[in-house]
Symmetry: D2
Subunit: 269 residues, 4 copies
């Protein structure tokens, strides 16, 4: 099925400063779904740092299904992310929604995240090809693996080889979980294409009590890293509270991942 797929010049290992993705390190990206306030973000960032994560996530521009939902803090959110980086030394991954914001977001982000809904926004992908900044391309929730790899090819063939994939669940008939996390895809991409790939069990399950087992499963299947949503107070989150880990749950996850990493010959940096 994928035999005829020829990819050009993708990097198997992507470097984000001193953080290495795609090699033997297991990388952890964590933070709130949306940046909501200085206090919320810094609390989360300190926890990520304390527990050994390397990258802070947090959305300043949010792609919401309804135009009437909270759309993010915009540049103010980016500034808070930069402040958290300054204090903790964590790298920043944040979503870019609109090509007109590339320059702005690129000033703040260490990794530019392209969300599921924009995976086939080819105009945007082509423009990302003109940068050097690593791009984390989330799988479209109804994209085949082939379409996903070809979307990555849009970025790479336009000049930027630093693409990191992120599996975040696909849409199926099952309604008991928000999406169905496709771990087959993780194993297949590592076996046949060797590209750097991250697992996102928060969106992939939509349920807090499934994040820990699916994070472990993703690493066992071969993922190079884990991205999870955490929140100091999930009940008050403006976005996706039901799938966010508490600080305590995150600490437990980091402990558990240490054991799993060992089994697959990786190591939590």
């Amino acid at each position: 099925m994928l035999n005829d797929l020829e990819l050009t010049d993708h990097k198997e290992v992507v470097k984000v400063g001193d953080v290495v993705i795609g090699d033997n390190d297991l990388v952890v990206m964590a933070g709130p779904c949306a940046v909501e306030s200085r206090e919320q973000l810094l609390t989360a960032a300190r926890e990520v740092k304390k527990c050994g994560g390397q990258i802070l996530r947090g959305g300043a521009f949010k792609p919401r299904t309804s135009p009437h939902s909270f759309q993010g803090l915009g540049e103010e959110g980016l500034k808070l992310l930069a402040e958290a980086r300054e204090e903790t030394g964590l790298k920043i991954v944040t979503e870019l929604l609109d090509a007109t914001d590339i320059e702005l977001v690129n000033q703040y982000a260490d990794i530019l995240q392209i969300g599921s809904r924009n995976m086939q926004n080819y105009a945007l992908l082509k423009k990302l090809g003109q940068l050097d900044t690593p791009v984390m391309l989330k799988r479209g929730y109804a994209a085949t693996i082939k379409e996903w790899l070809l979307a990555a090819e849009y970025v790479v063939s336009h000049g930027n080889p630093n693409v990191i994939l992120c599996e975040r669940g696909i849409r199926t008939f099952e309604t008991a979980t928000r999406y169905t996390l496709d771990l087959n895809a993780i194993a297949l991409i590592k076996a046949e294409f060797k590209l750097p790939i991250i697992i996102d069990p928060s969106h992939g399950t939509g349920k807090r009590n499934l994040v820990n087992p699916l994070a472990k499963a993703g690493v066992s299947a071969g993922a190079d890293g884990v991205m999870v949503e955490i929140h100091p107070n999930p009940e008050e989150a403006l976005c996706d509270g039901g799938q966010s880990l508490t600080m305590k749950g995150f600490s437990k996850l980091m402990h558990d991942l240490t054991g799993v990493a060992d089994v697959v010959n990786k190591k939590l940096a």
Copy 2:
């Protein structure tokens, strides 16, 4: 399921010059998948006109799964569309892929088409809200009806009430057809929201021999119009030849639609 959905100010009938969509007229949009050459486009346009269609379709910017596939003629394609309009009097519907091209495409198009892959490109949708030009919003191939209506709401709530929906098939497990045309969605949207909606049986089936029966089915289910791909010489098409009707097939379709329109109290204008 959709009971809680409140939409604002959507028009039930959208006017494109003297063409009325959403009322008792059955509107036919036809033309090649991609504008390839002056001759190809004008031949198709004359056929559309001769058979009684009102709107000429043709892509100048093409969203292709692979960056290595033909990406469209760009502005040259738009100029050819304008020439065809000049000669035939048909209106033009053409796809807009990139927010940076809004001004350009808006100079030529009578209807701005937003494709399936951009249905949740909210940055683009918000900008379309600042125009008056009618927008035809194709359903994302994995979007629920609710998500689709909320995507339309992005355009309308930002100021442009002239949104036309277009059902073009959803992604399912079935592989014998390219997509599964969801006619339940047509009937549900007409019954519960009364929004103008078009059926695209070319993309919805991916097979030339299924276009005629599914076009008739779509109109029977309540669609306000039909969009089909036609090509003077489908075997040589640069894009989607296998699902394009020949000129003869299109002529037959127009004849058949006359009968179906009558049954549902519509009339081919």
Copy 3:
């Protein structure tokens, strides 16, 4: 995709007494989801007859998702169906769930219905191959067209060529309707295999207000007949009330189908 599929000896036209399925007649099967009582069934049967239907449907054995739901009246239900046939002259289609009941159900039914959940119950299909009674094989709600045709082949290759297909909706990600009726499948099967096929818009939509438009759409796409659920008092139905037409709705549907049949060169018998 289906090019390699070789079917043996399937009949293109199946006769049920003087009712002909697969030819130019449009056949209507109607009745309650489940046989509930003598009065309920006879009221429905008289309406079917009066409005011009040919076949009475009604379940005596019901395949319910939960073992704690109403499972049908069993043989008592079959006797009531026979009484309704006696009075009205309608033929009977009813579901067979269990191979041990073949002899029993076969005494009463003119058409043996195999439901979606049993489409790949190959042990049962093989046994049906030993009968002459027509079999209506509903599509598994997650079966590809190819798997469906091969399930039919189990019956035919074991000796019974009288198989009627029935499209009743497939399972997709969409939740606003109960299933997604796949009309592509109707057109494809008529175009490429010429087998007799019925459309079931009641299960295929799960919503009463969508049954009429989807029935018309199914016939426009090429279906040889329509199966719908009707109930004298849908609000009190023990099963699937929300998708059952009222007597008045059924009468309206029969009127509308007359027009559609005409367009596709069929005729309501």
Copy 4:
């Protein structure tokens, strides 16, 4: 979604002789897809035993999509399974397809397997409720978790509490793998229902090179055991050779599972 689901009397731990499923032991079931010959089966059985597996799998009755494919050796296959048990001490799990064979298959099997296609064959499930033999109920490839649990409820509420679930992949739009293994389901069922559950990465991926990582992932997500297909010579297998592990691959898997079991506080018996 599943809050309203009340299950009766399911066992959280099922015993098959001295093999315990659902507790802290990690159980391995392995063997060929179909029993093909004495030599093939005994070679596989000895390998399973040598590497530390507890249960031998092998189909004597095969549910094939086409009636023209190999349908299994029938009772002769069952006798070979019994011989392999006699020699190795392994328990036997084998599929039951037809209620008329219950008595026969029950004489030989330690666990009765109900395949994906029969998950909603309620007539069969009710009859299994009259036995004491453990039943392994594979998930229908398009069944929701709720439907699956309610199918198990058919067995339990009719008197047999010894049901083991088996996740074997669901049907999605992705075509690069045979099915999409749903590990969310494993974690959810362990977290919310505590039922014994096995993972089948052979059917769930359809590709030999993905079996090892997905087996590890399944155990990390909480599965109580793993079922894999192995074959002395996969290239010559009559069924599913492409997803069968070689003897060497199986030995490697058993080694890897030891490490993973440890991380989730289980132990390979």
